[in-house]
Symmetry: C2
Subunit: 263 residues, 2 copies
């Protein structure tokens, strides 16, 4: 997932270092071209499945018959059982996301926010939060090797269930969503899970976490007004600037259990 | 462009801090809804103009009669002189960008790369590069105040022409492109300019710089394989990890003049 390249440093010296090696993957749904994703390609099937789910183009994994990835042509062929209802309309409108300022979230995503109900009893102990940050720190990662990628992870308490990296934080979270959809009920339901991301807590990141039913989100980065507003409205606990023993809880701090004051 | 919010820190203490306050801006072209951009909104007209240019929906600013922004309804109304040719087709395909993994670059952008010719004689002195990094460091910025935003800047040598911040690095560069399009020939042409961005040098960042005719790009962040491939092909000098006296030159190092070895 990385490639060695030769660069010239500030001393004019040639050096070899590694950079992330993403590839384009064009998604076809029932032979109709939908979108091209740039991805490290670690788990392309999960990515495509999660993308379709998070864009609400499918409600359930059972609508999918098969996803076949062919890297030789950079294509992911999705076969649905009964076709996707009014996919034309639902992919027509682009709402642009704050992540890169111009991401692509198909229309109607915000409309769904109102309908989402997150588990009101979900809590996270400060000790578990510190456990999560320790696990992330100790992860062997493309980021440590090459930088320039985002990481996302799904936790139950401080137990790591899945860690995914990709060039874009959206691909990483979609990959997690796709993986969750293929697991048993205890993993597929997010209400006792914690979602970690290295990326900013923008509105669509918060929305995607909520769509997975995950009521607590932890980020290494900060948030923006719209991310905060959506988290506030959803009852989602948004924690940012989280490294080592430091963090900022932006919303719904009642979900945090203060059992471990930092040294 | 920032808003004060109350958070709870790792000691359980309430604190007030500032976060970026982005707003949605829906772009209508001749009354047809095109896209919704999330933006800090510092220069909405330049952003919209630059967006249309960088998406190659217009070739020249003269195709635009007026851009009217109304924040009460979060709308930017673009009136063209003669309409935009086959806008339906040209906005139909989405190619997704590495910036957030799922940005939105309308089809055909990559096709243009081959046709771009950058000034082969453009050079940047190491002393000018260090000057650029000093100017950026000393900029009063939303980033210093609230974090979670990207900054872009246009330089001639180490002379700052324009500095723009937004929640997304694409909005920032598009705003610069829009501003350039409104300037006289000496500023509008990019061939003696340097483009700075805090964001990663992804393929579409490189492409946008090249579309502005700017042959040298400096970033605080790194690059990815596709960004590097495009820069290589375009003859664009891509410099990353640039802070203080440190930097990595990924491509076309012959454009750098090594006049100031770091201390």
């Amino acid at each position: 997932m990385t490639r060695a390249v030769e660069i010239v440093d500030e001393y004019g010296q040639r050096r070899t270092l590694r950079i992330p090696a993403e590839r384009p993957l064009t998604v076809y749904v029932d032979k109709r071209e939908l979108i091209t994703l740039m991805t490290l390609g670690a788990h392309p099937e999960w990515l495509v499945l999660g993308y379709l789910r998070n864009q609400r183009l499918i409600q359930s994994v059972h609508e999918i018959e098969s996803i076949t990835v062919d890297w030789d042509v950079g294509a992911a062929a999705v076969r649905t059982r009964h076709g996707l209802a009014d996919i034309e309309d639902r992919t027509a409108r682009r709402v642009v996301t704050t992540g890169c300022g111009q991401g692509s979230v198909f229309g109607g995503l915000m409309d769904e926010v109102e309908r989402i109900r997150l588990n009101p009893d979900a809590r996270l102990r400060q000790s578990e939060l510190y456990g999560i940050l320790r696990v992330i720190r100790e992860q062997d990662s493309v980021y440590k090797q090459a930088g320039s990628v985002h990481g996302c992870a799904l936790f139950r308490g401080d137990e790591l269930l899945l860690f995914v990296e990709d060039v874009g934080r959206h691909n990483a979270v979609d990959t997690i969503a796709g993986w969750m959809a293929l697991q048993g009920e205890d993993v597929a339901r997010g209400d006792d899970k914690v979602f970690y991301t290295t990326g900013r807590l923008t509105s669509e990141m918060i929305i995607k976490s909520a769509q997975m039913g995950v009521p607590i989100v932890v980020s290494r980065s900060g948030t923006t007004q719209m991310g905060l507003e959506v988290a506030e409205r959803l009852g989602l606990c948004a924690i940012g600037r989280a490294t080592h023993t430091r963090f900022l809880c932006y919303t719904h701090a009642h979900r945090l259990v203060w059992d471990t004051p930092p040294p």
